[in-house]
Symmetry: C2
Subunit: 268 residues, 2 copies
């Protein structure tokens, strides 16, 4: 059911035709959804332990969204209770001068997972065809070639043993309005608000077009995009948890064999 | 009450006089202790958020213990539910050739926290006066001078805004015996056991002496050691949680001021 959110490679995505408030893959209500997510969370906890024990697979999760789309909340809820030792979050902000002195995949490659690790990218190399494109930070000929470069990069990671899942948290403009207003109105949240957020919001159509290009051109069999309906936070968490659990279970992992000759040892 | 576990600077520690099964700082039983730890955990969750929001303090937690002492379990339980984005775990294993090509603090310094971050060291630079000393990996004159070097290093971190807490998880040899035997006897845990663990166990007195030197010589006002009774896991988690919460509350953090001129803005 959740596979309906997977972007089929080489198809053209029209975000207006994707419902951000969709909840069709789950029959229950919000509280049932939260309960289901909690169960998945416990399974994810065990699967992470197994992933670490086996030490064979690398798992990379890419999170992208418009402002207030819920990247932080997703990390917090989906990975609640999962051993922090096995999950690293790499956040990519405005690049430093040192990072800008290198190619745009340099800082990203450094943070990719090793064997037995799960790494979550909070923003990613996709910003180099999103904010960079919308704000004309490089000429079109430069960002234009990046889609293929990114596919080649992700293919190499996948061929070398990385399982890649990419989630676009899809909210609509009305939902963003509510969330921004909440930041303004709640004194404890106001510090998160910057006037620059309004200027970014004004570029909504440009960002949506840039996301459509990303989703249409970089969803591949080895690194698929999922467009997650994210107006409802509980549904967003549930769907992502389910996709993660299904994917990890599909890896058919096993606990490693113990050393030989351990039978009958009694510790003195 | 928990401050009884703090090692007063410039005192000589005798680990035989510290009770690993102590539970004197908490009046309740195991289930009450777990409940209390859960409450602390919720507070830690908020305090981490505030730490991140304020972006002023850096927090470094050092965990050291004998094999099976419970470093992994501590990380898992004490930080359960805390936003993984704000807590990084750095595990220091056998150094790589590149790491060995540098001084022993090089790899450690790279992992220290930035503003608003909590970093947990799972093992640390202290291994360079523990395993290195016990196995004679460098001459005595080399490890001997490291205590002062480490104090100087930690002083500099502290002076530049890092709050440092160091926990030695104190178990006794009988408890280690049970935990190692459990690894052997439970098929799902057996992969964790290596025959080399027995050789290390045989060096118990040497390690205890090395730990006593560490605790006696590197507990400072700016980077105190706590000797945590760790035979009982629930008590260990409770005491560490309490010390952490008390320390973070002592920082008197505040949410940052919002930008000026946000009053009355209505999002369009």
């Amino acid at each position: 059911m959740y596979q309906q959110y997977r972007v089929v490679p080489e198809t053209t995505v029209d975000l207006d035709r994707r419902e951000p408030a969709d909840r069709s893959a789950f029959a229950g209500d919000k509280s049932a959804g939260r309960e289901a997510a909690k169960q998945l969370n416990r399974r994810l906890e065990s699967l992470q332990e197994l992933l670490y024990a086996e030490g064979r697979h690398k798992v990379l999760i890419v999170l992208q969204a418009m402002d207030t789309g819920g990247k932080d909340g997703t990390i917090r809820h989906v990975f609640d209770g999962v051993n922090p030792q096995g999950v690293k979050v790499a956040s990519f902000k405005r690049p430093t001068p040192q990072e800008l002195a290198h190619d745009y995949l340099w800082r990203v490659h450094k943070e990719t997972p090793g064997r037995g690790e799960i790494v979550i990218f909070n923003r990613s190399h996709y910003e180099d065809v999103l904010v960079v494109r919308v704000h004309n930070l490089v000429p079109p000929a430069v960002w234009e070639r990046r889609y293929d470069q990114i596919n080649a990069f992700e293919r190499q990671l996948a061929e070398e043993g990385t399982t890649i899942l990419k989630f676009y948290l899809h909210i609509d403009k009305a939902e963003q309005k509510e969330r921004l207003q909440a930041r303004l109105d709640e004194p404890e949240k106001r510090w998160k608000f910057a006037k620059g957020d309004l200027a970014e919001r004004a570029l909504w159509p440009d960002y949506q077009a840039a996301y459509e290009a990303v989703l249409s051109r970089t969803s591949t069999p080895y690194a698929p995009w999922y467009i997650i309906p994210a107006n409802r936070k509980w549904y967003r968490n549930l769907v992502i948890s389910q996709i993660l659990v299904d994917t990890l279970e599909g890896l058919e992992m096993r606990y490693p064999e113990a050393e030989e000759g351990l039978e009958g040892i009694v510790i003195e």
